[in-house]
Symmetry: D2
Subunit: 371 residues, 4 copies
C-alpha cells in the first residue's frame, strides 16, 4: 500500500531511488503567500552532503534542487510544490555482487519477501538518498514555521561512545548550537567533536561503523499543538523520526530517564513569569498529554551503526545458500552527521502539519478567519 | 482537526470521556468472516482493570463491553464494529478543585490553550480511561492476527527502579510470559514482582508515583510487513506507542544500546535453518528498513511516573495566579501494570493494519485473490 | 477496506445495521465551543421519519438520538462527538425468505460476492437506516455552518413524473422553501405535492415504486471553498450525494442542460453590486473550477425508484437457481421524501469539512490565528 | 489544505501548472511486478493531444512522459512511480490582460478569494493541462486492470446538440468503440462525428464554444468492488469525474432517466446464464448499493461549454471595476474530445484503487495471500 506520504494538512510525498535519474518530492498544502525560492532550500541540502572525508563517504553528491511548481512571483501559490534532485553520481557496477544476497542489517531480505524482488542498486527506496527529498521539503516547513516565530535545530549529542555531557546542549541557544556544531560530526562542542572524528576514523580503519544520537530542539511552539489521542504531537514526532532508516529509538524530554524517576521529580511545576504561565523545569520536553505546552520541545533519535561495513559477514543468498559477503562500494562509517539535518527536516514537517491541523480547533478562531 | 482515528485499512476511531455516559470505538475494515463475540474482548478489558489494591486505585471499574454492530451469526460482516463501554464509576464532585487550575504533568494547560476551555472532569479525552476503547479494538486485532499465526504479549520489564535483568524475558516463551506475569505488576518474575509491589507501596506512602517500562514481543509475523519510507513498521509502532498518554520513549530491538554499539556487533547475520533463512541474533528487534524480517518483533515503551500525586505542588490557575495545588480523588501510584494490555492492544492494531495494507504489495499476490 | 468515514477535517464515521441493537456515528474534528445539545439534532431526525401513511412505510421509527461524548457544559469540546440511535422496530422474521435470494435492484448480490455472505436482515449496511446516523451528523454540521452565515435547504423537485417547473424553486427564499415543502413529499408547491401524493398512492396500488429528484440550495458560502484538482467542492459534493444508496446521477447548477448549451449562454458574467463582485446569472450553481464563487450552490440528486416492490420478480438464489421472488415486509413506495434531509445532511457535512480544510489556504489567514 | 491526491491504496498526486517548467504525478501503491515502460503511457498522452485543427487549439503540445522512478528491469518495484512531462509550449505573454480581471466561467475569482492572489498564466492549477498528469497515471491504472481482465473505453456521446442515439454505443464492443471513435471528436459514429466537427467549426466562427457528454464503459469488473456507505464505487466515480474541471453532472447507468421510471421497469432482474448469475438488463450501470455487480459499468460525464470564448464579455477586475473583457490566446472551442481520455483515466484510477482496497474484504481471501 502507498506509504510515501507524510502529513495530513502539510503533506509531502517523496519518490525516487538512488540509481534512477532523479529523486524528489511533492509538497501539497503549503499556505499561499510564503516567499520561497531554491535559495531557501539549497542550504539544507548542503548540510546533508558528505562532509569531511574523515567521517563520510568519498561519493560526491552535489544535490541541486529544482523547484518545478507551486511558486509564482517568488511566493507559494497554495498548490503543490514539486522539487527534484538529479542523481549524478550513481555507480551501478559497484552493487553487482549484492543482486542476489541479503546484506546483514539491511532491508534487503524484507523487501524481497514483500515484493518478490527488489531494486538492489543502492538499496532502492531504503537508500539513505531518499532522505534528500525530505530535507528539501523540511526546508520549506522550516521557512513556514519561521513566519510563526518557531525555530529549530538538530545536532549530534552522541557518536559511538563519545557523548555530550548531560545539560551541555541545553545551556546553549539555538544560534550557539548552530555555530558550535559546524564541524564534521555536527556536535556542539569542539573538543568532543574532535574526539568523535577520531573515533570514526578508528572505526573505519577497523572496517567497522558507529551509531549515535541526534537531538532536535524546537523553540517558539505555541501551546496547543498536537491532537488528543492518536495524533499526539509526540506520536507524530515518533512516527517522523522512526521513519528515518537507521533510527531504533525515540525519546521526548527526559524520556528514558523519566521511566525510573518519581512523579515528584518528573512533574514540571508552573509559576507565572512576566505575566505568563511558565514551566519551572522541562522534563516533559515541551509536550504533555500529546499537546505542546509552550516550553521548548526536545526530541532525540537513536541511530544504529551503519550496517554496511567492509568486513566479511555471514549471510544467505536468494538461492538459500549460506555465504560470506564482503560489501564493496562507498559507505559512510557513520550516518549520524548527515542525518542531523534529516532529523531537523522531519521535526519541521511534523510541526508545520500540526500547526495547520490545529487551525480548526476552536470555533472562535475559525470565526477570526471567516467573519 | 480530527485525531481520534488509528490505522488506514484496519481503522479504529475512539470516543468518550471518563465522565460521560459511556466511551467506545468504531472499528472499520475488519475482514468479513472472523468469528467474534464479546467473550473474545472482555478478557482484554479485564486485564486493564485496577488490580490488587496495593498497586492501583480504589476505583471500581467494571468495564463490560457491548458489541453494537458488524457481527452476524457470530462472525464479522466486514462492516464497522461498534463497541461501547458504559461509565459506571464517575465521581464528578472529586474534581471540583481542578476546574480552574493546571495540574503539573498533565495536559490541562495545553488543552486549555488549544480549545479555550476543557472538560476538566477526569482529564476529559486525555484520561487514561480512553484506552479502554483501544483495548477493546486491540482484542479484535489480536483475534485477527491469531488467524495468521501471529501472537503477541506485553509485560512489565521495569517498575520504578526494579528492573528485569537483560535477557530474562527473551528466554521465556509467550505462554510462559503470560503465566509468569499474572501478578499485580505484570512482571514475569515472581521475586521481582514482589519487590515492585513493595516499591509501589512505598511510593504511595510517600505520596509519590513511579514510572516503568513495558515490552511487547510479537511472534509469527511474516517477513515483508511495513511500508518503505513513512509507513515503516517501526514508524507505525512508534506512533502507536507514543499515542499512549504517559509514554515518553519508544525503542525497537536493542534501540538505545544500538546507538553506542558497532556495526559488526549490531548487524544480525543470517544462516539457513531448516531450509529457511534465519537471523542468528535479533538486535534489530525484527524490523530492518521499516519492514518485518520474520524474527520476533520487540518494542518497548517507557512510561513516566503518574503525574497525579498527593503532595502539594506549585502551579498556576486560569486567573494567572501562582497557587499550591493538592489533588484529591483516586489515582494509581503507577499506571504501568494497567498499561501493559494497552501496549499490547496498540501493537496488535498496528500489525493488523499493516497485514491488510500489505495485501496489494505484489501483482502475483493480487492475482491469487482475483483470478 | 474501511469505507465508513466521510470528510478529512470534519470527519464522520457511521456504524450500525437496521437489525442490530443500535446505530450511530462518531463525529471527529468539530471545533470546540459550538453550543450543542440533542435538541439541535432531533428535529433533523424527525424530518427523516416515515411521514404520512400515503407515501411511506407503516414502520414506526422513533429515532431518538443520544449524545454520548464530546459535549461539556452545553458546548462541543473539540473531541469526538458520539451519537447513538437505538433500533426499536426491527422485525427479523419478515426477512426470512430473503436469506438466500438476491433481490433485484438491491446490493445483495454484490455484498455476497464481496464478503462471502451477508447480514440479510434489512439489507445490513446497505439499509436506508444507516442514513439516520448521517442525518444526526449533518445536523451538527448545519449548526456549525450557521455560525458562519451559511444556511441550506433540500426539497423535492420531482417525484415520479410530477415535476416542479424550471425556476419555480429558485424564486423562493430558503425560508419559503422550508415552509412550502412541509408536506408529505417535501415538494415546495401545494398543488404539485398533492399530485405527487396521488401518484405515490397509485404506484403503491400497482405494487410498484417511484424515483425522483432532490435539490439542495446552500446560501452564504464564502468564495474560496473547495480545493483545486481532486478535492474540488463539486467532487466532494458528488461523492457525498452518490454515497446515498439510491442516487444514480448528480448535477451541479445547470449541469445536464449546460452540456447542450453554448459558452456565451452558460458563462455567468459579473458586475459590481453594492461594492461587491456579483454574478449576473448562476448557471454554474455557485462553483467554478471546483471552488465556491460566492453565489448560491445548487446541487441535485437523482434517485432511482425503490427497488423493493411487491410484485413477483425474476431472480436467482445462492444455490444458483432461477426463482421468482415476492418480497414481503414493509417498504416505502418511494424513498425520496425521506431522503430529502439526507441530501441536506450530506451537503452540510461536505461544506463543514471544506470550511475547515480551507483554514490553512493563506499564510496571512494563518497569521491571524496564531500571531 | 492538500487536495492533489486521489485514491487510498492506488494513490496519485499530481503537480504542476501550464506555465512552469513541467508537470507530473507521483503514483504510490502500484503493486510490484507490473511490466511497465513509457511505451505503455505515451499512447494515452497522445490521445489527449489537440487533434484536427477543426476542433481544437492551434497550440502544439508534444507531451512526452519521462518515467523517473519505481521501475526496475522493466517492472514496477512497488515504490512510487514518478512521471514528468515538460512544458514546451507556454506563451506567458498571451495572458497579460488576464492578470487582474476575472474571466467569466473560470475559476479566477474563486482562486483569488481563496489564496489572495493567483498564478494567472494559463489558469495555474485549474488549467486543463493538469489533466495530462492524470492521463499518465490512468495509463498505469489501465495496464494494471488489464492484468485482471478489466478493460475500459471512453467516447463522446454528445457534442453540442449532436447526440448519439440511445443504445447506439451499447451495441458496440469495446474494440468497435475504440475503432469507430478514432475521429477528431471521438464519437463512435462516422456521420455524427462529421456533423459534430461541423458544429464545432460553426461555434468557432461564432466566437462561441460547445459542451458535450462523455461515456465510459468498463468491462470485466468482478462483482464486489466498492465499499459500503461512503466509499461506494459510484461515490468514488462521481468524485473522480467531478474532479475534471468542466464536468457539471455525472450519471451512472440510466441515472437521470431512472428518476422518472418505476421500480418494475428499473430493477434489473437476474437469471442463471452459463452457470453464472447474470443480469437481464443493466439499468443500474453495473453498480448496486455502491458495489459492482459484475455487469458492465457505465458512467457518463456532462461537460459544460469551454468558458474561454473570443466574444467580449462583461466582468469585473481586481480593482472592483466593471469591465468588458476580450480573451486573446488559443482556446479549444470544445474540450470534450480531449477530455475523453481524461474520463477514461479517472475511471481507471478509481477501479484500480478499489480493486486494491477490496483485497482485505474477506478473511478467507487474506488467508490465500498469507497462508
Amino acid at each position: 500500500m502507498a506509504g510515501s506520504t507524510f502529513g495530513s494538512c502539510f503533506r509531502v510525498t517523496t519518490w525516487g531511488e538512488s540509481h534512477g535519474p532523479a529523486l524528489g518530492c511533492v509538497l501539497d498544502g503549503c499556505p499561499a503567500g510564503l516567499p520561497l525560492s531554491e535559495a531557501d532550500i539549497q542550504p539544507y541540502l548542503d548540510r546533508r552532503k558528505p562532509g569531511d572525508s574523515s567521517v563520510s563517504t568519498a561519493r560526491k553528491e552535489d544535490d541541486a534542487v529544482e523547484l518545478l511548481s507551486g511558486i509564482f512571483d517568488g511566493r507559494t501559490t497554495g498548490t503543490p510544490i514539486s522539487m527534484m534532485i538529479r542523481n549524478t553520481s550513481q555507480h551501478s557496477a559497484d552493487y553487482g555482487n549484492l543482486a542476489d544476497s541479503f546484506r546483514p542489517g539491511h532491508a534487503d531480505y524484507g523487501f524481497d519477501q514483500k515484493y518478490g524482488f527488489r531494486d538492489y542498486r543502492g538499496g532502492g527506496r531504503s537508500s539513505g538518498r531518499e532522505t534528500a527529498a525530505r530535507v528539501a521539503a523540511g526546508a520549506v516547513a522550516a521557512k513556514l514555521l519561521s513566519e510563526f516565530g518557531i525555530s529549530l535545530r538538530a545536532y549530534t549529542i552522541a557518536l559511538g561512545e563519545v557523548k555530550l555531557p548531560e545539560g551541555a546542549a541545553s545551556s546553549l541557544s539555538l544560534e550557539e548550537l548552530a555555530e558550535r556544531s559546524a564541524n564534521p560530526v555536527c556536535m556542539p562542542d569542539t573538543e568532543l567533536a574532535e574526539a568523535a572524528v577520531r573515533s570514526v576514523a578508528l572505526a573505519r580503519e577497523q572496517k567497522d561503523s558507529l551509531g549515535g544520537i541526534v537531538e532536535c530542539r524546537i523553540e517558539g511552539v505555541p501551546a496547543g499543538l498536537g491532537e488528543p489521542v492518536f495524533d499526539k504531537l509526540d506520536a507524530r514526532l515518533g512516527s517522523a523520526l522512526f521513519s528515518i532508516g537507521a533510527v531504533k529509538a525515540v525519546e521526548i524530554g527526559d524520556g528514558i530517564a523519566a521511566a525510573a524517576s518519581r512523579g515528584s521529580e518528573n512533574n514540571d511545576c508552573m509559576r507565572m513569569k512576566d505575566g505568563k504561565a511558565a514551566f519551572m523545569t522541562n522534563h516533559a520536553g515541551g509536550i504533555l498529554g500529546g499537546i505542546s505546552n509552550g516550553a521548548p520541545i526536545l526530541a532525540r533519535a537513536y541511530f544504529k551503526p551503519t550496517p554496511s561495513i567492509y568486513r566479511p559477514q555471514e549471510t544467505v543468498n536468494e538461492n538459500g545458500e549460506d555465504i560470506v559477503l564482503t560489501i564493496a562500494g562507498r559507505h559512510d562509517p557513520v550516518v549520524v552527521p548527515r542525518a542531523v539535518v534529516v532529523v531537523e527536516a522531519m521535526c519541521a514537517l511534523t510541526l508545520a502539519d500540526l500547526l495547520l491541523a490545529n487551525a480548526g480547533a476552536r470555533l472562535s478562531s475559525m470565526k477570526k478567519l471567516y467573519l
